[in-house]
């Protein structure tokens, strides 16, 4: 039991160090996990990282948190998963709290207001970049193009909640592929596997 605590603390502190590096998307963190968890601590093997990547990228949630949780589970079960998740979460949580306090204090300052007025279009550009990056792996034929277009229309004009759209999208995907296979067709269902972190 005592040894277990020691291992959990070690997992927690390892991911505490990794946490602040997850700057600009979870994929930035993968080489660091490799170095710390595979090379230094020898907790898991290189081959496992591939599994971690594939699952962490396709499960809902942030890539960084998902992969930490998954690696933690591989090392020490459920308690390991919790230790790794809390470790990776804590530093950024505290940093964002500090920034919130700062923002609430200064947001009415005219200089800060002007800065944010300029940052607005940059945020729109960042969002466009995310779409630009993910589109080639997602829009691979006419059907997927129509689905993407319909999603925008449903959200903008009919104000349908994303939950409904997301789950019907999955259902449509399953049905379409089934129908096409039954008709003897074939659907290329995976583009390149990666998603934006």
């Amino acid at each position: 039991m005592k040894k277990n605590w020691k291992l959990l603390m070690e997992i927690f502190f390892t991911f505490l160090k990794i946490g602040p590096i997850t700057f600009g998307g979870g994929y930035a963190m993968i080489p660091v996990i490799e170095r710390e968890v595979v090379n230094k601590k020898k907790w898991i093997q290189m081959e496992d990282i591939t599994d971690v990547l594939a699952l962490a990228g396709s499960a809902p949630g942030a890539m960084a948190i998902n992969s930490a949780t998954f690696v933690g589970y591989r090392i020490a079960g459920i308690s390991g998963a919790l230790a790794a998740m809390l470790g990776v979460l804590l530093p950024t949580f505290l940093i964002v709290i500090a920034l919130s306090i700062f923002y609430l204090h200064f947001k009415d300052n005219p200089k800060v207001e002007a800065a944010f007025h300029g940052i607005g279009p940059a945020v729109v550009a960042l969002i466009c970049l995310a779409a630009y990056k993910i589109a080639p792996t997602a829009i691979i034929d006419k059907t997927t193009l129509v689905i993407a277009g319909l999603t925008v229309v449903f959200l903008l004009f009919l104000h349908i909640h994303p939950v409904i759209i997301i789950f019907s999208g999955m259902l449509v995907g399953i049905c379409l592929v089934k129908i096409r296979t039954r008709l003897g067709g074939h659907t290329r269902i995976d583009g390149h596997k990666k998603e934006v972190g």
Partner: protein, 179 residues
Amino acid sequence: MILLELFKTFFIIGLISFGGGYATIPIIEIEVTAHQWMTTQEFTDIIAIAGMSPGPIATNCAVFVGYQTAGFAGAVASTLGVVLPSLIIILVIAAFFTKANKNPVVQSAFYGLRPIVVGLIVYAAIKFAVSNQLIGPVSLNSISLLGIFSLSLLALIKFRAHPALIIIFSGIAGVALYS
């Protein structure tokens, strides 16, 4: 009970946040404006700060919204809410379905899901462009904003500039142009 409402809202957001942070932004935006926790305009500031901070952008937004709405306890409630679904799903997958993403049904679900993620992000871009006066009546203001937008996008795509750098530079441009 505001804490419970924050937890519940961000739990649902966490459950459906497929495809990375920027696909989650429109979902958070819809929820925070529906709850009247903040306006789309205010939420743009939050994204900017969340994008500059280390850590996942969706989780950072959760911390921010929670803190602004109900202080430290609010931040804890919304953060736990947004990460709990990931934790549960990852544990279930890790314990039982390590090869889940090789399953044909899962793959065809993703065939339908991925374009929706793109649609969500495009919707977010339009929504934020409108609320930040990027789309609207032509004026000196909207033209300069479009200038910042185009330069940012060019730097991001062509020169692979770091997002944090883009936010900092556009902030400096904002101070120079609008104060």
